[in-house]
Symmetry: C2
Subunit: 416 residues, 2 copies
């Protein structure tokens, strides 16, 4: 009875029938099960899968498995704000498309996706759209005529250990893996009843305050978006300024190492994230920032959970400039190793982790005449993203990259 | 740090290295992941899988998936106590055996399996043994040189939402499904940290009292095993009388419908189980009782959690005879439909659910001469198990079964 009541409450918040919704052990498991189930259920139609380039790793890794099985995956690009274009989704649809996936909003930069419009073009083509609503479900139901929806309770402030998988009636769905009759055969294992009840109750509770709290948090994140570039030089605020989640704001600071900045802010009592939280143990820059083509250097993501006091935001804005300055001072101390050749100045940044290659580029660009070329040698993968991003911010020309004896040579022409 | 501490505590209780142990969302998921990972990791050796006939449904359903993929599965039979024979496991091993699975103790009848000895023959053959230790881990570590172990926290009195998967170093293991770096890539999804910490703490707590509590509960279950056949006529106590879990006792009552008896006992304040709890929504009898060849009719499983007061057991023994008698009276009221033919008396029990076919057989057997045959027509699957089991209990001869125009005809010869 508790399980039924929780299912009804969650279904009401999602806007679906209770028998379309099952509880999974996490949002990640909901995505894995949802994608695998639709892909298997629609195998006769074909194996083509569409995802956006900025999906959560659970979606992209499911796509990798599907591709490794021999199927084709189309990754739809995003613009500089992190948003997909509805036309790109429409263009990606094929007669053999089994499934399209699109997040309701991005987990790193907060940009909201045009889910309703994408659902419409998918529906017209007879292709189910799976919406990863992990970031937004606490704020409200997902717009439009989607087919499958996934979410995660801890993202809306509920307990760990509960995800939602909603499959609309009429969507062909073949659960994969060993048979288990619990949760309509879509979520194996003993039901975590206490957590499920808490998840449904917390969803109802956050929804009751969502409209009012969204206005308040949006004002606070607007303040961060406006004030950070005034307080800190060489900063790029990323994500869509309007179509975005209320409580997430992300910016990147030139000449700053994100990890070091996180430690500085942590010492001041602020727990923020950098790059992509889900791949933070790898040293490659966030796939989201890379897909957006924005600076990943010194990336900071500030998440304001519901109830965050205004005073905390004000204190963060007081602390941030000093923290960034301290990191820049620390990183900027060493002198670049340069070699002047006939046609270019070579900066040897091999073995140095970003943002050092960009810092060294910035230091030497004033030493070559306008029109001259600098070759930055780097073996840090992040340089591939950050050197072009720096050029765009500093109005210098990014010429391109070449393989070098060691690492890669990034060519920059001084324009100003 | 909390996660590391929980892992160390759990590993100490299991008797493994902390880096061999991961937390999964349930015991079922631990089994699914463990079996799939070893079967994939040892694909080059072959695809042969060995399981016992009385494993938990999570093991048997994983075996079904493996078989559906084209591999061979050997199901090792059990004796009438529910125990496997070590020699049967040894005989089942083949050069292409990828994995053998054996529970530490049975979840329905409490019989302990010879895990240590089976681990030894598997080790000698170079085949990893996966032990489903869900039933026993709270009582102590699993004996012997096993390779993979699974367990479930709620089974030892911990919270829902936590399972354990232990893979010994040196076992080839290839996690299946989408990449996820958490829990060594073996348990995708956001870690349920509060539940994991509680699981480790509760395991430590139950272990501290396990030795003493096992003695006390064993005395109580011994009492049930001894007294029930004295108090209730036509009862078969099942499971090994010695090698068994301290807190589980199972018996079957002739001429009783298990579900109805459960309701009677529930009204008296006792929550017991019948047949197989994991397949209770299906109407077929428990696969465990079927594999043991014992009566499934009127099956009752009594689980005494640690701390169960002696007075509760005494009250149960007071209530049980009346409850069984009430059900027998209710079910025994209708008269059997019989047709006398030249060579047999036909009992038409078509459309009647067990135990009715057995009750009708018992009613009419006195009406035919010794040496005569009765044909019981039944379309209830449970009759296939219960009619032979009744014959064995009542010293009548079970001749065999034949397809009938409708349902199946079960042939019984009166011997006494």
């Amino acid at each position: 009875m508790l399980l039924d009541a929780a299912r009804e409450a969650a279904a009401e918040a999602v806007g679906c029938r209770p028998d379309e919704l099952v509880f999974t052990p996490s949002g990640t498991r909901a995505v894995h099960t949802g994608m695998a189930g639709v892909l298997a259920g629609r195998r006769r139609v074909g194996g083509h899968l569409i995802v956006s380039a900025v999906e959560h790793s659970s979606v992209l890794h499911s796509a990798d498995v599907h591709e490794a099985d021999g199927a084709t995956v189309t990754q739809v690009a995003v613009d500089r704000t992190g948003s997909v274009d509805v036309r790109s989704y429409a263009d990606a649809l094929r007669p053999d498309t089994a499934l399209a996936c699109l997040q309701s909003a991005n987990h790193e930069v907060g940009t909201e996706q045009p889910v309703g419009a994408v659902a419409e073009v998918c529906r017209a083509a007879g292709v189910p759209l799976l919406v990863d609503a992990a970031q937004s479900l606490g704020w409200g139901p997902v717009e439009g005529d989607w087919s499958v929806l996934t979410a995660s309770a801890h993202k809306w402030g509920g307990p760990a250990g509960v995800g939602l998988l909603v499959v609309r009636k009429g969507v062909r769905f073949a659960p994969q893996g060993p048979l288990d009759e619990r949760e309509s055969g879509r979520a194996a294992g003993f039901e975590n009843l206490p957590a499920i009840v808490a998840a449904a109750a917390s969803l109802r509770a956050v929804r009751a305050e969502a409209a009012q709290e969204a206005v308040r948090l949006r004002e606070l994140t607007d303040r961060i978006r406006a004030r950070v570039p005034e307080l800190v030089p060489d900063v790029e605020v990323v994500g869509d300024p309007e179509r975005r989640l209320p409580g997430i704001v992300t910016f990147s600071c030139l000449y700053v190492d994100g990890e070091t900045l996180l430690h500085e802010l942590d010492r001041a009592g602020f727990s923020v994230s950098s790059g992509s939280s889900c791949t933070s143990s790898t040293l490659t820059p966030s796939h989201v920032l890379r897909a957006m083509g924005v600076l990943s250097e010194g990336n900071v993501r500030v998440s304001l959970p519901p109830g965050t006091p205004e005073a905390d935001v004000e204190r963060f804005l007081e602390v941030l400039p000093g923290a960034v300055a301290a990191v820049r001072e620390k990183l900027g101390a060493s002198l670049p190793i340069t070699i002047a050749t006939e046609d270019a100045l070579i900066v040897d940044a091999l073995g140095k982790r970003c943002p050092i290659p960009v810092i060294e580029l910035a230091k030497v660009i004033g030493e070559v005449p306008v029109g001259a070329t600098i070759r930055v040698l780097s073996d840090d993968e992040a340089a591939r993203l950050d050197i072009p991003a720096w050029c765009e911010m500093r109005n210098q020309e990014y010429v391109g990259e070449e393989p070098a004896t060691e690492g890669t040579a990034y060519l920059v022409r001084r324009l100003s």
